[in-house]
Each structure stands twice: as C-alpha cells, then as structure tokens.
C-alpha cells in the first residue's frame, strides 16, 4: 500500500516537472458567455487547454473565488461592473501586467478607466450589455410594451419572467417608483418590495441560466432579459423583441480579472490578449449578441450585427440607463431579506 502511494506521488512529481505536460487555463465565466470556437482556436494556437466552468450570478462566483482563495482553482474570471471594485478592494485580484496584453488600446475609451478600476490595473473589459424588456410580439395583444411599468398590467397575468438576480429585479422595482436602481435607502427598498410583490402573482418564473429559454419554450411572453440572450433568442423565435424601457435599462460591463492565487496567470494574460484581437472580439459579439468594447472589432462586424439596436443601443436608448454600483453590505442585507420575502410570498 505504502509503495503504491509512493509510486503515485513519484508519478505526480515527475509529470509536474515534465515540460511536455499540456498547460491548462481554468476559465470561470458566465454560462453561455464564450463561443466554443474561441476556446478551440485558443487551444489550437497556444496549446493551452481551457477548462471552462460556469456560474449564473456574481454572488456565486464571488463566494466561490473567496472560498477557494487558497486552492487556486481559477486563472481567469469575469465579474460584472461593481464586483470588480469589490474584489479589487478586498485584495482578491492579481494586477494585470499591461506589457503582456496586446490590443488594450483598441478598447472604447468610455469603457476603460472607470471608477470600478480607475487605471484598469486589475481588469480588462470583455463585453458589455444591458438588461431590458423581452416581448414575444406573437403572443401579446393590445398596446405595445414600452416600460417596466407595463409588466404590472393584468393582461400579463402568469406570463411574466424575471431574471433570478436580486439586484436586477429590485432595480426594476426602484426605477418604476422613480428611485435609483442603486438605492441604499431602506424606505425606498421597502417601497420597491411592496411594488414588486404586486407583480409576483403574474411572475411565472425567475431565470438567470438562460433567460431566453422560458420565452422560447412558450412559458412566458414578457419580462426581463439580457440583450445578448434576446439576440440569440431571436435567431430561433423571430417574434422575440428587445425593448428599451422608458424608465431606463440596467447596464453592465463584464471584465476579465485574474484571481490572486491563479495557478497560471501567464496563460490568463495570453487568453486576454487572444480575445482582444479584433477578429476574435468580433466573432464573440456576433455569436452571443453582447456588445464588444473593442472598437477595432466593431469595424469588422457585419452590418446586421453592428446596426442591431439590441446589441448596440443608440444614444436615446441609453437615456436613464444606470450601471449597478456596490451598495455596501448593510444595504445588501436589506435587499436579501426582501428578496426572500418576495420569493416566498404568496
């Protein structure tokens, strides 16, 4: 028994030293957020295998990274907007060595050096997108849906879908009442809860795995969706429209970050550079429908993608748009409590 264990150790030790061993990049990303083709081409070009693991909420990703802090399970992750600042401030991230990154200058200047990471020392923008209204025009009669407020109408009873994301759902409730989606005021949050609980009887499901699916499956006709999901959904179901609600959409920017204990930061840098190539960025935006911050890539996009308002909103679409910010832990607890109340309320 002992001998066997020793032999095993020896074998591990040997492969550890061998230069023949294929390198691995552990990529931790949102589900359906990177075309397989990109991973394949990266492996082809660099010989580095990509292990792709997914999550469906920033909270899950954050908890996992924090817990696995020491075991170095992931080399690259893709947190949304304010999670970049949160993780940066909690010292969970490795600085990105700009000298190893090619193509950073191609990025839209409006999407770099933001407050979440003033000099982009820790993050490189990957994609940005919005959360707006999905409407299945084939199944909806009457007035067109133009505002979040419309979801409360009786005609949508039992046909509404919300994302399974606490912050986003409350964002909608807050905006309908005219408050900021980043409110930390307990009274406003409670008011949003009251408002949302009126909507609950109409809500059929919450979904953040693949928010387009309940629409495609015919379970829901109207509700929240991420713009990329709406674009992908439209390929299958022509009648699925993406609408910019009057109260304002929810905007977010997802960025590559390297967790502090990454085992292979070298490969992570290589991957970021790979994705920043205009051709690759364009491919990603075309495939999954979110907007690339890479201006050089935008020139390569076919017209029907570049002019697709769902992916690339115009200035009027962005009126009232709001990025999510870190609301702090106290407010988070208030949200969390009302969120459970909302979901268990009958």
């Amino acid at each position: 028994m002992k001998k066997l264990a020793l032999a095993g150790l020896l074998a591990v030790g040997l492969t550890g030293c061998s230069s023949e061993e294929p390198q691995v990049l552990n990529l931790y990303n949102w589900s359906e957020y990177m075309p397989q083709e990109v991973l394949d081409r990266f492996t082809e070009e660099t010989g580095i295998q990509v292990v792709y693991t997914t999550y469906d909420s920033n909270e899950a990703m954050y908890a996992r990274l924090k817990l696995l802090d020491d075991s170095a399970a992931y080399d690259l992750a893709v947190p949304s907007t304010y999670y970049v600042s949160k993780m940066r401030q909690e010292d969970l991230l490795l600085p990105i060595d700009r000298s190893k990154i090619e193509g950073f200058d191609n990025l839209d200047t409006e999407l770099v050096n933001l407050d979440i990471d003033p000099e982009n020392k820790f993050s490189v923008p990957y994609l940005w997108g919005t959360t707006g209204l999905a409407v299945d025009t084939a199944d909806i009669e009457g007035e067109p849906v133009t505002a979040w407020e419309d979801l409360w109408e009786d005609r949508f009873d039992g046909r509404v879908m919300l994302t399974n994301d606490m912050r986003e759902v409350f964002h909608v409730g807050l905006r309908v009442l005219g408050y900021s989606g980043n409110s930390t005021n307990p009274d406003e949050i409670e008011a949003a809860y009251e408002k949302l609980s009126e909507l609950m009887p109409s809500v059929r499901t919450f979904n953040s795995d693949a928010p387009r699916m309940p629409y495609l499956e015919g379970e829901t006709d109207v509700g929240m969706i991420w713009n990329g999901e709406a674009v992908m959904g439209k390929d299958t179901m022509e009648s699925l429209e993406y609408v910019y609600p009057e109260e304002g959409i929810i905007a977010w920017l997802d960025s590559f970050v390297i967790p502090k204990n990454a085992k292979n930061p070298e490969a992570a840098h290589q991957f970021i550079s790979f994705v920043l190539q205009p051709e690759i960025s364009a491919l990603i935006s075309e495939e999954i429908g979110y907007a690339t911050p890479n201006l050089a890539a935008r020139d390569l996009l076919p017209d029907e993608v570049a002019n697709n308002r769902a992916s690339y909103p115009n200035a009027t679409d962005m009126i009232n748009a709001e990025f999510q910010t870190d609301i702090g832990d106290d407010a988070l607890q208030i949200y969390a409590k009302y969120w459970e109340m909302l979901k268990s309320g009958r």
Binding site: V203, E217, Q333, A336, W339, E340, M341, K343, S344
Partner: protein, 285 residues
C-alpha cells in the same frame, strides 16, 4: 491461521469506517455547528463573538413561513410517495423472485443518471410545449396546453419522482419479513381483510413506513435544485434558503443554523423510528 489473515483486514475496515465517519460526517457537522454560532462578517464570512443571533433569526415570521411551506411540500411529497410506495412494495413482495429482481433493478436504474439531469428531463416533459402537453393535445383531451411547469405541483412531482425509491425499498424489506403465519392466524381468529390490515399489517409494517418517511421527508426539504428548475425559483424549500444564505446573502451563520435545524429534525425522526421499532420488537417477542 484464519484469524491472522482476517485481523489486518478487519482493522483496515474499521479504520476506514471510523475515519470516514470522523472526517466526512462528524467534522463537517461540527464546522456547521461552529459556523451557526458565529457572527456574520462581510469580508471573511465568519467572525467572533459567538452568539445565537442566527437561531433567533430563524423565528422571523418570514423564515417560519418558508419553513412551514417547505414542510408542507415535503409532507405532500411524502404522502404521495407513501400512497404509491406502500401498495407497490406490497405487490413487490408478492411477485416471484425472478420478477422481484427485475423490478428492484428497474427501481434502481434511474440512480445511474445524475438527479440534476433527470430533473431537467422532467422539465422537458412538463413544459408548455413539452411531451405531456403535446400527448394530451394530440389525443384531444385538452385544447390549450396546461401550465404544469413552474408550479407547486411541478415541484412535488419532481420530488416524488426523485424520492420514491427511498420510500419503496424500506417498505419492501418489512413486507418481505411479514410472516404469512400471522396473517393466517388473524384470519383464523375471525378477523376480516380490513381488520387484518388495520390491526396486523399496518402495525407490523410501521417501522418500514417510518423509515420511508424519514428517508423522504427530510431530503424533500433540502433538494433545492428541484424548485429552482421545476418551480421557477419559486415555492422555495428550506434547502433554497440555505443555499441563498451561503451564496447570495452571504449570511453563513444563518444558513448554518437553518441546516442544523434540519439535522435536528432528522435526529428527532430517527429517535421516533427507533422507539417504534423497539415497541414492535417487544410485541413480536
């Protein structure tokens, strides 16, 4: 000679079993108990001082409501499992040995597939344009698809589907042990079928019923992915609350306290099960 050969083997097995229990059962549970009495910390999840705030929070009307609703759904699941499982196990104990093996085999086969995958499969069946609705529509039973998915019913169907074997197997074993002589004696002493069932069969199979209830009720409150997939993330179970507290709200002490309550409930049920078994054992002797 024999014992010399057996001794190391026996020691190895004992070490394995005890090691398993210590490191994979006792230690994690102690960690959970520890977490439940600590203070929530936004940065490192847990911190001192020790206190019972998390348990106090459990009595918040909101969580009581979730707990009761969860209990209600688990109880419905258990009831349905019992109603299907009891006659099933009875019939199973009556058929020939060959057929018995095949039936038990069929009961176990689904376990070879991950339960998450099976739950997604169930979703395909229950969906608005899923298999069940299209079948019902094609035979003309309904004109409009039924809304089955994302309902309380769908969650209960999912739970029953996943947990039914855990009800059948303990029941099957008590039915196997049911002595025919006792039934004959009851008959000879003038008891009718119903009376034999109520006064002889039910008491004798009660340990199996309790074992089945125990194996179904508690897991039914914890299988958080079933409401997530089939209930549209509504109709929450205690398992969902625990998961949300750990992942979304990052309130570990509270999540830990909730899971301790589940464990304690389980222990209580096991204790009741033991008591009933002992009572019946004495009566049998």
């Amino acid at each position: 000679m024999h014992s010399v050969m057996q001794q190391p083997f026996k020691t190895a097995v004992l070490i394995l079993v005890w090691g398993w229990l210590l490191f994979l059962v006792l230690a994690p549970n102690l960690l959970v108990v520890g977490a439940s009495v600590m203070t929530r910390d936004p940065v490192s999840f847990l911190s001192l001082p020790l206190n019972l705030d998390a348990y106090r929070q459990l009595f918040d009307p909101l969580y009581l409501e979730v707990f009761l609703h969860s209990l209600y759904m688990a109880a419905m699941t258990t009831l349905v499992c019992l109603l299907i499982g009891y006659p099933f196990a009875w019939a199973l104990s009556k058929v020939g040995k060959q057929r018995q093996l095949i039936l038990i085999f069929l009961l176990i086969v689904p376990f070879w597939t991950n339960s998450l995958v099976r739950t997604y499969a169930l979703k395909l069946i229950l969906a608005t344009n899923g298999l069940l609705n299209s079948a019902l529509m094609s035979i003309g039973l309904i004109d409009e698809p039924l809304q089955l998915l994302y309902t309380e019913g769908a969650v209960i169907i999912g739970l029953v589907y996943l947990l039914l074997p855990f009800m059948i197997l303990p029941l099957y074993s008590v039915f196997e042990d049911l002595k025919q002589e006792l039934l004959l004696a009851s008959h000879d002493l003038g008891a009718g079928r119903l009376s034999t069932f109520i006064h002889v069969i039910v008491p004798l199979t009660l340990p199996g019923v309790l074992a089945g209830v125990m194996l179904v009720l508690l897991p039914a409150m914890g299988l958080f992915f079933v409401p997530d997939i089939l209930g549209g993330s509504r109709n929450l179970l205690v398992g969902n609350v625990i998961k949300n507290q750990f992942l979304d709200a990052r309130n570990w002490p509270f999540g830990a306290a909730a899971s301790i309550v589940l464990t304690v409930t389980m222990a209580f049920l096991m204790f009741a099960h033991r008591l009933s078994k002992r009572r019946i054992g004495e009566e049998g002797a």
